[in-house]
Symmetry: none
Subunit: 401 residues, 2 copies
């Protein structure tokens, strides 16, 4: 249904410009109080009018029934098959705290934990120590140095931190050291492939050093590592699709995801207004501009349907400014659904709108789940978003004669 | 669009319960007299109201334009790619007469036929001998014994019977002995692979024995075998999807199909009432319950649109009892369409309804082909039914971070 290899072959450089707005977690389920989804309940006159002159549908991020994380669901929208390019948990965590990663970095998610005198784990989260204590412990861990390898540490919330091993010839093909159960010892880092065996040794030495440094601490006297991973080998959007892409995203993880596919990361703030201002400033410099709206997802995760409605209305108020830039193609969609009633990501397909001179318009105004289910694009994979954008920007040549 | 390998990886055991009702041949075409399909013409207030609070669509059993048999179309609904797991004709016939098959059984469909003095086939069906005569002949064939191999015989209707060869190391990878034409001799059983050569010898010896036993009979003085096959190697639904599944089906073939994927086969009767009673009795013991309604298909095959309407109305009257059990997920669909005007299975996609707390409801009441074509699930492969069921039962973890 979507053929990215063909799209790559047919891509050509043109002057036309694409704006893709990813409203994170935009899709939802009816709120029991009002019988409508947040998107349907929100007063969004600009999106509604835009939908009437756009082509609409629902996109499926990964596959039927599959609830995606932010990594795969964004990759799909950027034109990369999320099943072909898997992003390790450690990589995503490192991107999430704003670390810039290189090709031979190995990143992992760390937990402080508690072990007893014989080394058995008694609490995998060390009683969820305060974040301030975490910062102190991470500072102590920075004293553990390794010859030939730089170790980069960033504290997270409570017991969580991120560690990146940076050096020549490292591989992230390594099992977790977290056994996932109390009553067991932390595992050794074990290489899944011969290329990773030296890295596993390095990780084990660092863990031994960390244990030594933490030995007199209570309750956080040991560390567990999960999701060790290297960057996926992924062509840039310039290589794959002949685009000059830029990302406008206030939050680190989305800046990181965009950097994975070679987008220029533009400085911006956390608000929609900041992001739209950045879009205006840099509109002339790129031909693909990704804009990320975060708070719809945060409200969904919090079960806050009212908040989600408010963010959607706020975004709606900026739609005229975006249209005023006259992009050749404007897409408004989401990476996945985050229904407030589920308080998390879900498998439900996501409202999608594409506006250009060359779409078949829907006609009646309105933008929401039910309307998009009747949209003239039907239900299609998120991976089809970029091909459609390129086609509508007249950036794809003809296949065959 | 559907990724079963991913679904398997993400499956997790939970307490939630799924009921999948397969109304055999539910889909149809408008009856010329009334301008509506049987499902649309039937007075089904319970299904109509259920559809309004469910998500609907059309499922495609195998591929666009493909008319499926019962085997592939059921496998797809159970989450098995029907192109990956092919069920040999002999296996399906054996299941259809209620034989229980083991992994090294080889089953075939048999015909009594007529050969002349020189062994040339003059009638491939032996004049469609009466079923009573068939029973006598099958009893005679039971005298043909083979060392080390048990031969199990079941008479069918007219000239048809089923034969199962049971023994160590048998393989069903063997060509038909039926040349499909009169004027030729019955073929020898020929192995398609070296593993099957011993089995082919056994089959040929048995056929020689059968010919000897039948030599003085007229017109049925010889046998032809078709569709020789072993059971497909297929993981159980417990292995594949971490389900504890049970089948409620009055007719042997559907019990047999369910047993192929490791369902527990519950004792039940032939009526919908019997089956619903069985569902009530065993509802607590399983987390996936497949219920098969047969007569819609039988009426379709007979060209009896009125009968099909009646069966659909009968099924509709039991919907409240099923809902009263409060399954977390209820699916009502069919394995394929059986339009009465075609008097057989067809390629038309099949009405599909899924009800759970987590669906996007359709809104307006009604359940039928036209309404499902407007459903918010769109047209999707039958193979997606199980992933959707698992997702709605919150039995699938998240993909990626």
């Amino acid at each position: 249904m979507v053929n990215i290899e063909l799209v790559k072959k047919l891509s050509q450089k043109t002057e036309t410009k694409i704006v893709m707005v990813v409203v994170d977690g935009i899709g939802g389920l009816p709120n029991p109080d009002i019988g409508r989804t947040a998107l349907e309940a929100a007063n969004t006159p600009n999106l509604d009018n835009l939908a009437a002159i756009s082509s609409c549908g629902l996109v499926e991020p990964v596959a039927l029934g599959i609830t995606p994380g932010s990594g795969p669901s964004h990759l799909a929208l950027f034109g990369y098959d999320p099943l072909e390019y898997e992003i390790g948990r450690g990589i995503l965590e490192a991107l999430g705290v704003g670390l810039k990663l290189g090709p031979s970095d190995v990143a992992a998610r760390g937990n402080f934990c508690t072990v007893d005198e014989s080394g058995i784990i008694t609490d995998r989260r060390a009683g969820r120590i305060p974040t301030e204590k975490n910062r102190q412990l991470v500072e102590m861990l920075r004293s553990v140095t390794m010859e030939g390898v730089e170790v980069i540490l960033e504290p997270g919330k409570f017991h969580r931190f991120v560690v990146v091993f940076r050096g020549q010839g490292l591989s992230g093909d390594i099992e977790d050291t977290d056994p996932q159960h109390v009553g067991e010892r932390p595992k050794n880092a074990v290489a899944r492939s011969p290329e990773a065996s030296r890295t596993a040794d390095i990780v084990n030495k660092w863990i031994a050093g960390a244990r030594e440094v933490l030995k007199n601490e209570r309750p956080a006297n040991m560390v567990l590592l999960r999701g060790l991973a290297s960057l996926p080998e992924i062509p840039t959007m310039s290589q794959a699709f002949k685009l000059t892409p830029a990302a406008i995203a206030g939050y680190p993880m989305y800046r990181g995801l965009a950097s994975l596919v070679g987008m220029e990361i533009l400085e911006t703030g956390l608000t929609i207004q900041d992001e739209v201002n950045t879009l205006k400033t840099h509109f002339e410099d790129y031909d693909f501009l990704y804009v990320h709206v975060k708070e719809t997802d945060s409200c969904g995760e919090d079960g806050d349907c009212t908040g989600k409605v408010r963010v959607l209305e706020e975004f709606d108020s900026y739609v005229p400014e975006i249209l005023h830039l006259e992009p050749d193609v404007l897409i408004v969609t989401g990476d996945h659904s985050t229904p407030a009633v589920l308080k998390g990501h879900s498998w439900h397909p996501v409202p999608f709108l594409i506006h250009s001179r060359w779409v078949r318009p829907q006609g009646a105004p309105g933008f929401g789940e039910s309307m998009c289910a009747q949209g003239n694009l039907g239900v299609f994979p998120s991976l089809g978003a970029l091909p459609l954008a390129l086609a509508n920007a007249l950036k794809l040549g003809k296949f065959g004669a």
